[in-house]
Amino acid sequence: MALLEITGLAKQFGPVVALDGVSLTVEAGEVHCLLGENGAGKSTLCNLIFGVHRPDAGAMAFAGRPFAPAGPADALRLGIAMVHQHFSLVPNMTVAENLMLGRADAVLRLGDALAGLERLAGEYGLRVDPHRVIEDLSVGERQRVEIIKCLLGNPRLLVLDEPTAVLQHEEIDALLGICRRLAENGKAVILVTHKLAEIAKVAARTTVLRQGRVVETVSMAGADMRALVRSMVGRDVKSADAVLAATIGIEGDGGAAGTAPAAGKPVNGRASPAQDTRVPALTIEGLTYRDADGVARLDAVSLVVKPGEIVGVAGVEGNGQTELGSILAGLTGPTSGSIAIGGKALAGATPREITAAGAGIVPEDRHAVAMVPDLSIAENLFLGMLSRFSRFGLLDRGRMSASAAELMREFDVRAPGPDLPMSSLSGGNQQKAVLARELSLPNMVFLLAAQPTRGLDVGAVEAVYGRIRSARERGLGVLLISSELDELIAVSDRIVVMYRGKVVGQMTSDPANKEAIGAMMSGHGHV
């Protein structure tokens, strides 16, 4: 008998049909993967299982009994735990304090939490300092705390909504190990992901969702990966594309991985830098940033991005990339050093001045920095240029919506209309909207894309990198910060590696350099 049995589940949000007659079973002792594009309904399905939302139709049974959770508390009581795409930690409390939250006992036992933490660290290799404050942790570390929090409750079914999107390679492997071990212990795991390599490593079965419906559920023994991609996207994808291969985590077709990205590349810096007399899109010299405790998060960073090239910034998360992105966005002032965009000195400039200098910024944290989720899509698109739509201070909303609809069509932002709140869009469409805004600025010379594909799935990743490449074709210099090394190698012309706030090396984006880059990322082997 299946541990979790779902029959005919349907859910609608306003005009958006999120799920439409979804049925599937999850057995005890299996890792069941959910695969699907953005907006396919994966997160909604997880949220229904965890009791965050209630289904409009259909039924669920857990351990043989009808299961209709009124809220997450019901699900937790029965032994269902969930790690959400977005964190549910209290930022100004320590790790240990967060772990003690939501426990049923009236007395907080720090010792128990620490012991549990120690046990999990030993058992699964999930290590984190219990006394650090959450807001000081990197995104990857916060994700780790979330997972630990779930595992402390000893769940029977663990639901993981895109957990690997923010993790490093070793951490992903560790997490997949945890999934396997949980399954071996007779527990069930639902894993939402779009990385086929991960699915191949852990899944017993995979269910593919598209537009709220189940396309197929396949057993992974002897499954055809390309067939899975096809069912997920609903069409044949350009199979030779190295970026796509990197995104979904499968090996590209040997030769294609090397040649495909090079095909459309302009001759860039690495050929003969001395001949290039154009004004660089971005010049950073001796950029240093010390945080409130005086720790150098950025240490004399210098780099140049020329027009028409994509420079990738590789590095394990928490080595200064976040600070670099924040300074380039104008949200943090550097301690010292200089920044010039298109030849214009901009160290310590306001976001407004940076935008005016022709820099598009796609920030790392989409929800906190890139958009106002409660405002409409149109409002988000034009928040920085409202004067274009106002007369005597009054907004012409009709004209604004029309322009927004046009921009959404151009950038393929899929939504029922420009006046819906930004929060109603899937992550991929939100990111496309952010790109639409940042790439339609006047007189552009530079684009910063910080972790632009985090949490997005194949279709959206393809679209995002398509935009970034066409920005390069337009002659923009692009600085691409990402913790996905495979994607960096596939997209960038040149890669700089950051380690502990310093640029420790620079390499061409030849796939053969992958190991050397990996070594530099972990602090070994300066080249």
């Binding site: 407004r352 920030p363 920095v369 106002v372 409660d374 405002l375 928040l383 009054l394 907004l395 109603s424």
Partner: protein, 361 residues
């Protein structure tokens, strides 16, 4: 994710009447409880009720007086929702009224009386609004530059403003009227007739309704336009919802915060100036007598809508008139009326929560 979509596109037509019906029922229920309390104090109910009705709307004079009260309450409430659009909570309406009234009095007594074309009263009103703007804007500067919580700063600035007014009517060097054998109270002299707000219905002289009414209506329209239709209103909302994203989008959130609190304070200052120039005619130390705080409640209950402020201000204006008369002629303690007022606030707030919950389903 779809929750906001649902509530926005929900069955608006079924939702709107509920939004009106439930608070009205809640208010009636609260008044009923109040009547029970009044009955239990031993006052005959019909005496209390008729005194209450007389005070509210018994004759043309009382109606005018009620509306005049509503004007000041409404202006403070408007100021509250204006700042609140940027997620700023201005609880200092009382203090902003106090400085507004004080500076308007000073202007009326010293300099404005001889001005032509209604400037004799318009200039003191503007000066009062400016004083309120400075008072509110100062809290904005503290917030923008030093990230001082505006709830605390506006409240503490109130505790500075009220003694300032007291001082100004205590000191003969400031606004206190010269000592004479008939009066030695600490208050300002009466302002010159030219600086008093003209009555709206001058021919019959029975209604105290003054030109503050059209001014307040104008303020409601302007504030509603700014909040709903203007680019500035959208920027306020963006800063209130996500100040980092707003900053990244190029909005100068610091100056926006200062302007928001300054405008909020200006509306409070205008309310104070209108109270002096429109009905009291001289400054006393406690002339604002809680109107600032009642106005804050009006703003809170309106849930960010200018129309809501109008409704709330009228409700509280009429209630206040009724309760004053009930105390004078039926000897019902004012405390009972204050209790009723508190019950109404709770009832309306609770019904709002109820409606929200239903809309979310």
């Amino acid at each position: 994710m779809g929750r906001t979509v649902g509530s926005k596109l929900g069955p608006l037509r079924a939702y709107l009447p509920l939004q009106i019906v439930v608070p009205v029922l809640a208010t009636v229920a609260a008044i009923a409880v109040g009547l029970v309390i009044i009955a239990s104090t031993g006052t005959p109910l019909e005496d209390a009720l008729s005194a209450f009705w007389d005070g509210m709307a018994g004759d043309i004079f009382n109606i005018g007086a009620s509306i005049n009260r509503a004007i000041s309450l409404g202006l403070v409430g408007l100021g509250f929702i204006f700042a609140n659009r940027a997620n700023l909570t201005n609880v200092g309406g009382e203090g902003q009224m106090a400085v507004g009234g004080m500076f308007a009095t000073a202007m009326a007594l010293h300099g404005a009386a001889g001005l032509p074309f209604g400037l004799a009263y318009l200039v003191p009103l503007a000066v009062g609004a400016l004083a309120g703007a400075v008072w509110g804007g100062f809290a904005g500067v503290l917030k923008a530059r030093r990230d001082t919580n505006e709830v605390i700063s506006t409240l503490l600035l109130t505790f500075i403003a009220l003694p300032l007014v007291y001082w100004s009517v205590q000191s003969f060097n400031l606004l206190r009227k010269p000592m004479s054998d008939v009066s030695s109270l600490p208050e300002s002299p009466e302002i010159p007739d030219t600086t008093k707000l003209p009555l709206l219905l001058p021919e019959d002289q029975t209604s105290p309704l003054h030109v503050g009414l059209p001014l307040a209506i104008l303020a409601v329209i302007v504030v509603a336009l700014i909040l709903q239709k203007s680019a500035f209103g959208l920027k306020l909302r963006a800063v209130g919802l996500n100040s980092i994203a707003a900053r990244r989008a190029g909005i100068r959130s610091g100056s926006l915060i200062i302007v928001a609190l300054a405008v909020s304070g200006a509306l409070g200052g205008l309310a104070g100036a209108i109270m002096i120039l429109g009905q009291q005619y001289y400054l006393t130390s406690s002339f604002s007598s809680g109107y600032g705080f009642d106005g804050l409640v009006v703003g809170l209950l309106s849930r960010g809508s200018a129309v809501g402020v109008v409704v709330g201000a009228l409700l509280f204006g009429f209630l206040r008139s009724g309760s004053i008369n009930m105390e004078i002629s039926a000897h019902v303690p004012a405390a009972v009326v204050l209790i009723c007022q508190g019950l109404i606030v709770i009832a309306i707030a609770a019904s709002a929560i109820l409606i929200d919950r239903r809309a979310r389903r």
